[in-house]
């Protein structure tokens, strides 16, 4: 009965396939249960959380590379991601205020400020440009402090400490693994910081202008001299009087570089550089802002290399 045999054969194949699919599904489910689902607001925190969590965590960033983390408009999918997250890591201060309504909507007590699944990475970071919470901020000087603190690589110590505490709360079984990962990462980082500082030494005292006040932490760590910003208030184009002041500064202080982020307008820096001997340097403010800045360490590799070109003697 070849016909019947063939029929049985088909059934068997279908059965094997079904069992296989079920096994795969179970495996996937087990895997999903094993890895800790972390949501961060920015790619920088995503990279640092990945460094601490290693293979045990799966990290998603709500803003994608190069998107403005300050002016982000949440998508419906973000709420779903937050609802399913075991840990949420944010920049804090006045930076990612758009996260608060999402956390409220998610309706989980542990995601509230101070909850077990909530990490404010800015906790205990030595902040720059704090003016007081009740002081009306002038320009980018947020009253609570300038929020671009991840751009000091040594602040990663404090940031990863906050992340480690959060991971230890939601996944206490693997605390030791997380601690080991963090120590290894910080060792590599310390080595690199020594190297980066060495390479940027020739830049000490060289006057630079920034498009926007995003780099005070980078300046403090690598002893850069930022004399003025092109846009004193974000989004408001500079007045001619301010531009004339910049032009005068560029001569009197011998400004050599104009720093800008990839998303900032080109016209103003290029016009200024055409009037002096300064070169326009595109720096990455976040992981992924330029293609080579793939992770937190590569971010500084890229920025240091870009800054080095200013110090190089003009051919």
């Amino acid at each position: 009965m070849p016909r019947a045999q063939k029929f049985v054969g088909r059934q068997e194949i279908a059965g094997v396939l079904l069992r296989g699919a079920l096994a795969l599904l179970a495996l996937y489910a087990a895997d999903a249960a094993a890895t800790v689902q972390v949501v961060t607001t920015t790619t920088d925190l995503q990279s640092l959380t990945q460094a601490v969590g290693g293979a045990a965590v799966e990290v998603t960033s709500l803003t994608s590379a190069g998107q403005d983390g300050e002016a982000y408009q949440p998508r419906p999918g973000d709420l779903l991601r937050i609802k399913q997250a075991q840990l949420v890591v944010r920049v804090g201060l006045d930076y990612d205020l758009w996260l608060d309504p999402l956390l409220g909507q998610a309706g989980r007590a542990e995601l509230r400020r101070g909850g077990a699944a909530y990490v404010d990475a800015s906790t205990s970071i030595p902040l720059l440009e704090i003016q007081g919470s009740s002081v009306v901020p002038g320009g980018h000087a947020h009253g609570l402090g300038n929020p671009h603190y991840w751009l000091d690589p040594l602040n990663a110590e404090g940031i990863t400490a906050n992340i480690l505490l959060g991971l230890a709360r939601v996944d206490p079984g693997r605390t030791q693994t997380y601690e080991r990962n963090r120590q290894r990462f910080l060792q590599t980082l310390a080595q690199r910081v020594r190297d980066w500082s060495e390479r940027l030494r020739p830049l000490q005292g060289v006057a630079l202008i920034a498009h926007h006040n995003s780099w005070p932490y980078l300046a403090r760590r690598f002893r850069l001299r930022l004399v003025e910003t092109i846009e004193p208030k974000p989004g408001v184009p500079p007045s001619p009087a301010h531009l004339a002041k910049l032009a005068a500064l560029m001569r009197s202080q011998n400004v050599r570089g104009i720093l800008k982020a990839p998303t900032e307008a080109e016209a103003m820096p290029h016009m200024l550089s055409a009037r002096g001997s300064a070169s326009v340097v595109t720096l990455a403010p976040s992981v992924g802002a330029v293609p080579t800045a793939k992770d937190y360490l590569a971010l500084f590799d890229y920025n240091v290399a870009a800054l080095e070109r200013i110090a190089a003697p003009v051919p």
């Binding site: 030595p126 403090r220 184009p237 500079p238 007045s239 001619p240 009087a241 032009a247 005068a248 016209a267």
Partner: protein, 423 residues
Amino acid sequence: MNDMLQLLWIPFVATVLLTGIHTYLGIHVLARNVIFVDLALAQIAALGASVAFMLGHPPQSMGAFAYSLAATLAGAVLLAFSRRASTRIPQETLIGIVYVVTAAVTLVVVDKSPLGAEHVKQMLVGSILTITAADLLKLAAIYAVIAILHWLLRRPFLGASYARDGATHWGWDFLFYALFGMVVTSSVAIAGVLLVFSFLIIPAVIGTLFCRGVRGRWLLGCLAGIAASATGLAASFAWDLPTGAAMVCAFALALVLAGIVHWVGRTAGVGKRILGGVHIAGTALLILSAAWLVLQPRADHPVLDAVDAVWPGARGAFLGAEEARELAEAESAAGHYEREVARLNAKERDSRWQGAPLEDEDLRRLSSYVQSFNEMAKGERFVAREIRNRARARQRWILGVPALLIGMAFWFARGVAGIRAAV
């Protein structure tokens, strides 16, 4: 001063070019009653550029230009036919819909590429200060070609613009919008949407107020536009204002002045009219601020603040010697704390690159001092405001009530005079 001239002369020449072509096109736009068409066309061109960017053409490349141009031409077709479709719905409605939908589609398209978003913003915001000599030459070349076409084809173009709905061939409408789109796309990238709208509409309105012929309207509009541009540029330099916004305000001022001149020129008994207007405005201001002072002595009082600023003794008259001393002390203490904050902030900034670096602990200590000094300065400002409020509370009855009575007396006197004149 030298820096200012260097910075401002190219923008000024650019504004002369922009005024010339936009005033002429503005006369057409007013005749066609499609006031917001420039916004729609600029947005359509930006959509074309953002689609090009998404497909991998870098900004300012031939590819981006081709997509932009294609989008503008498609927009011109749409606008030419919208006039035909506008027998029952005003054409401006369709233009508004085109604008909003294109803006939304652009947002969706650029969402995945943040650099694209910045590029689109650049296309629509522009910055007249950053225009270079090379940009200027390019602009002059484009405008010259379009101006010559408009001159050669002035009869059909003007005929089409002034024609009643449907009484013209749609091809002329299409050509008009296509040329118009090219002008607007290039000018919006330089001057921004707000300023281009002002260039287009306000000089044309001023010209239309005073002249009947197209040539007269254009000449007068150009003069007004160039004067307003120069005023705006100078004001933006003198008072440290964003240039585009300052220029738009200067255009508005020019329109207001033109409106007053127009009104004065058309009415008999000018002197009496002006006196009457000043009388009404002054009396109304007096009654309103006096009533506001009586009702809410602790609120903001712009008129009294102005008096205080010009003549500080006015407030002192309502304060005792002790209060006046307290006020002076609070203001000087606030100044002291603010200077301390500035000093500490400067110290921190300098320590980033010279001398011994500030350790984390020192930084935290400095920050806490800055915060306390800021709070203390705020406290002293609060004390000064409280003392001022005490003076205001006394002014409430001594100044407010008599001023209110005087204002009302003036108002009724005028009313009686008016009735008597009518009788």
